[in-house]
Symmetry: D2
Subunit: 391 residues, 4 copies
């Protein structure tokens, strides 16, 4: 991804299709920009909406050949699989409950899948998704995009290198404030489907953003969850899912943690934050200021490691495009996941294995995420009993 | 406390004695400075140590008349009570297990007590302390000093005025790092007594600093705890008390919270932080940057309220000495508790009731704090069961 | 640029060529990513280096048709102008002294120019560039990219709306540290040409980054310079240009300012910062944390306006792709300049005038920038005499 | 000053008098608190106002013996000099133009002087003050209090130890906003005398706070000024002194600097800031967050050194009372100057020389400060000509 000529070497753009992401969606546009940043993909087809006119209009907006714009993802999968220059990969950016039905159609035809998170709306579907992915030769990439930030890669690398020693404490949080009021009752589409259990799954806030926090904590710490206890709350009147989640975590090996996610915390826009403490040092990272990583080796002054600056290592460099002091953001982190997807797809096409430096979230990570939400819901339903993931 | 002439009006300095706080103590010196800042007290007597030479030497350091330096707090209480110019008040700055035995001797002689926190080492003693204080005519002030910070007063005032609406979420944390290694095994006195259940009580980190965080959350939010579930952990080998505490909180009326305290989190010196969120807004305050209070009215930009600056109100002004931009710190916050103690003592001496603006922590707050620690220990012992305070 | 379908409406991608930006360049890659983010351009041709093999290799890296890869920019201009699907626009990303010779060839053939800053290496050339641009029908866009940041647009909009009242004080600074040591003597290419007066012009640091700071100050404040006095210093032994510049500014209408740029200030990566104060309020913005704008209305608490958050207006919204809390960075700001270039080019192609919302830096802004550098060099040569721009 | 018993060893409190600092003053109260914090002084006398009733009332507020409250500083000096337990030292906290007349009376009687800054209102008086101080056996301490902050001491120690290498660049600034409007025209006393040349001297903002910034820069960097050029501006209608000052600095040895002070910069309360850059590293310190010092060794990550934390050395420790993470503030920094005054006075009383660790600002520093203001006024009057200090 780096700007150096080497990594701009273009092995040919991957032909990308998209399911979901029509005119009034948010995440579809994000995926499209992310796919373009490193120039590894070209969007050539899409089923942007199940409403035919809306899908057509969206395709037209994007300058697509109208023959490649569908209103039925199954039809899209079938036809694209047969086309000589059909899509190599599909990006799935629908509400959660459609992830599995859509992915299945493409996976079974060997089309690579880049799927938004969480993996599915239910744990049952998540397990089916794993099975479908394992059965397919296609690559499956889950866009837990926050793992794409360079300083998250840096943190992971430092933990893995033992710079913190044995980990003891993990504190993850992801507060937002956009659902402080009953926005879903105003007809706002983003709020409506995210608070509808049929579309989002049983977890509300915990599924929408709590999973990101848990995924991030796991990605950086390398720790595996043993048990959790959770209390999910719906503060807003008539809201059907949780909008605040308090979770305590026990990791295998003895580390302990807490996770807080909320969508009713005024003053928080998208304040995902991770802190990890070990016997020898501590790390702190905030998504809203992503180019910084605080590192304190025990007994030394706190250090501000900047993306690409002194102290920033190989893992961050691989996910970096511009020099230190030139901030990269959310879209670049997302683009890193896409670039890693491209590397995996090219490797698959060449029958080779992909570099171990490529660490995008997998279908297995997705299953763990859905199991995490499921466990939180179960624990909360049992008054905060300690439960394990049902994998 | 303000610098304006009015509040420097000196109704005569209160004669203060001290128990504990000898040469190698930390908090004794803090109390002495705090007592001087607003010029309401004069230290005239002390039992600084049970080792006679040490007490004498400490008294000499402080320029006290040697006849007023004791090695036995009971002797001190007895003699000072009889002296014509004996102490009006005593500051108790011993390890926790001595708070009650010491306070009792002074309370029963009508000498006002300013006691360090936590109130006692055990819940049983805490209840006895309440009884002793209620039985006495003396004023009892507990130095949960963080409540003395002007912006904490500001936060409390804003919550009480309804600027946040009904509260939903409270997040309190108090991480430190100084016990990351087994300092108590090196003979370091501060570490030794704080990790000795016989001196500190059953709670380690949760008693030493978790109580501060809980007290602060209660002071600002005005919420009353319903239940908690806790997990206390001792990460350091052979440590006898917890050094990390994860707690989930249920408040009466439905608000939910989390509290984390740790003494093994590298990169945290004394990072007490409180966040409170309601239906209409959110507040954030950090002890290490105490002159700032972040306030977000829902749907408006975040505001940085500064001590004494625009948006800072009456409650903060009463606890403020210098203009905005001239930072006040830990000692000034502590001094505010002392000044409020002085106001209460003068009122008591005059047979008047003290102003409702005076809001120092009371013996009752101390009981709640000890009950909080007790509840955390009980819950943790029962694998994180929800428990109520045993008041 | 917004993610909403509307602005993704694609009027057909503009065919883009590039001069400069071969394998070991930095800014060429930045321009390429910026041109892709909003999907308005497609890179189809280039003269990436005057070394034929290097240009070919760079073109191959980028997947270009080899027939469109040139080693001579004049040949490129001639041939592309004749091709039926020849380039619509060219991005010029060479060292400064080549900007004018290159631009001239394209401008005179009606090919739109997107040129890196500063406009030229000398004031004489800058005036010729203005003449060439005025004579041409082509659009000329100068990539003073920092004007593309949403919160810079927000600041400009607020000043223009009178939210600060009459301006009094402008403080601009742009410190870096990468030239603290004589990097140019190690053969590092970026350092070599930037410290070579023949390639960069007479200004070193003041030309490379001081112009950015001055352009930003002008863009936001709307103020016009009356006079300046400057002291340029070369701290590093044998460096041929300034690496630190102190400048005092007098604006027409009475406002006063200072500008500091440095490349020898350890601890500063790319710390462009602007502060503007008026009778009614103040604004502060830092490039390294670009999603925030501090605004203090006189007598009110400081407000943190976030990109897309409460208080963020129309001008910022037009330059924004993702919701508040999802940070955008350097590349997105750069992309906004490209998208505005696209709007201007499409308007030109349609014979229409472009919207007044489109405010990219022009050739005239570029002339002012070069005149600013020239004035700083002149003033410094006269021991800091006050001088005017030689426009 | 440290809390350790050793430094609380009390060699007997110094008897302190005060001139100025009556009921509606600001800085008098600050001096009184500062004198108490480390318990080295006892206020026993004062001429708080030339209005007899006001002086009496102020003395009564402070609990002084009325026989020691004067309305005439000369009478005070005479009588206190004769008293057996007369004052050892006097704190002078009047408007600037009275510093010299008052100090003279005490100096000539051998009474130690602690004088607020700037030294005097005019350069002529400053020179007389130096002569008077040199002629006297008394200690003379100038309360450029910002030099008392622990992290300022730390910065000075690091520069002196060569951790930054040869210094190149110094950036000092001190913006405030309280005079953005013509407060002096409302009768507000603080504003009135500070904008009256007869009381404050020819410099307004540059004398009131610019001198602090210059003193701080000199104290930390150890550099000596060679020349300066300045532009002083009065933005507020009918204001008689400058309210904004832009200054460029040339130091002996080749370092260059800028200094900005303003009292019309909305959003700045008391934002004194210093940045120092050398060949090997950089330092940054802000008065409003005084417990932090940013240090970047060239080529390493930025480090956050905290007061008393890792990386904080001996000089800071000597000026520190409480552990890291327990913020000290403005009053503690001020108290350090008082404690150093006490050390110097005790040494003088004992006929000994004071430790080289005692580095309070001297009468000579005060002369340099007044000469700095004088030079700024002269340079500005000559359209920013370079001028030297007239020492």
């Amino acid at each position: 991804m780096a700007i150096e000529g080497k990594s701009e070497q273009n092995a040919g753009r991957i032909r990308l299709g998209m399911v979901g992401g029509g005119r009034d969606a948010f995440i579809g546009g994000v995926h499209r920009i992310a796919s373009r940043i490193d120039d590894r993909f070209e969007l050539v087809a899409g089923a942007f909406s199940s409403t035919p006119e809306k899908s057509k209009a969206s395709g037209a907006d994007l300058g697509l050949d109208q023959s490649r714009v569908y209103d039925d993802f199954t039809a899209m999968a079938k036809r694209e699989a047969r086309l000589k220059d059909g899509i190599d990969a599909v990006a799935i950016v629908t509400p959660n409950h459609m992830h599995y039905p859509v992915a299945r159609e493409f996976l079974k035809r060997g089309i690579h899948v880049i799927c938004d998170k969480p993996l599915t709306a239910t744990l049952g579907e998540a397990k089916k998704m794993v099975a479908a992915a394992e059965k397919s030769d296609a690559v499956f990439v889950l866009t837990h995009n926050y793992t794409g930030y360079p300083m998250v890669r840096q943190a992971r690398e430092m933990v893995a290198a033992g710079e913190l020693g044995t980990l003891r404490v993990v504190q993850a949080e992801y507060p937002q404030d956009w659902l402080t009021e009953p926005l879903e009752q105003t007809g706002m589409k983003q709020a409506a489907w995210r608070t509808d259990p049929a579309q989002s799954g049983a977890g509300g806030c915990i599924g929408d953003i709590g999973t990101h926090a848990f995924n991030l904590a796991s990605f950086v710490s390398g720790l595996e969850l043993d048990e959790l206890c959770a209390e999910l709350t719906s503060f807003v009147d008539r809201r059907r899912v949780d909008d605040n989640a308090n979770v305590m975590l026990r990791f295998k090996g003895g580390a302990r943690g807490m996770l807080w996610s909320s969508q009713v915390a005024p003053g928080n826009e998208n304040a995902l934050k991770l802190r990890v403490y070990g016997e020898k040092g501590g790390l702190e990272w905030s998504q809203e200021d992503p180019n910084y990583l605080w590192f304190t080796p025990l007994g030394e002054p706190k250090r501000l490691i900047t993306r690409g600056g002194a102290g920033s290592g190989e893992a961050a460099a691989r996910a970096t495009r511009v020099p230190p002091g030139h901030p990269e953001g959310y879209l670049e982190g997302f683009a890193t996941i896409y670039s890693e997807a491209a590397e995996a797809i090219h490797a698959a096409q060449a029958g080779e294995s992909v570099s171990s430096d490529v660490v995008y979230p997998t279908v297995q990570d997705g299953l763990i995420g859905v199991a995490f939400v499921d466990a939180c819901v179960r624990s909360s339903g049992r008054n905060g009993a300690w439960v394990s993931l049902n994998l």
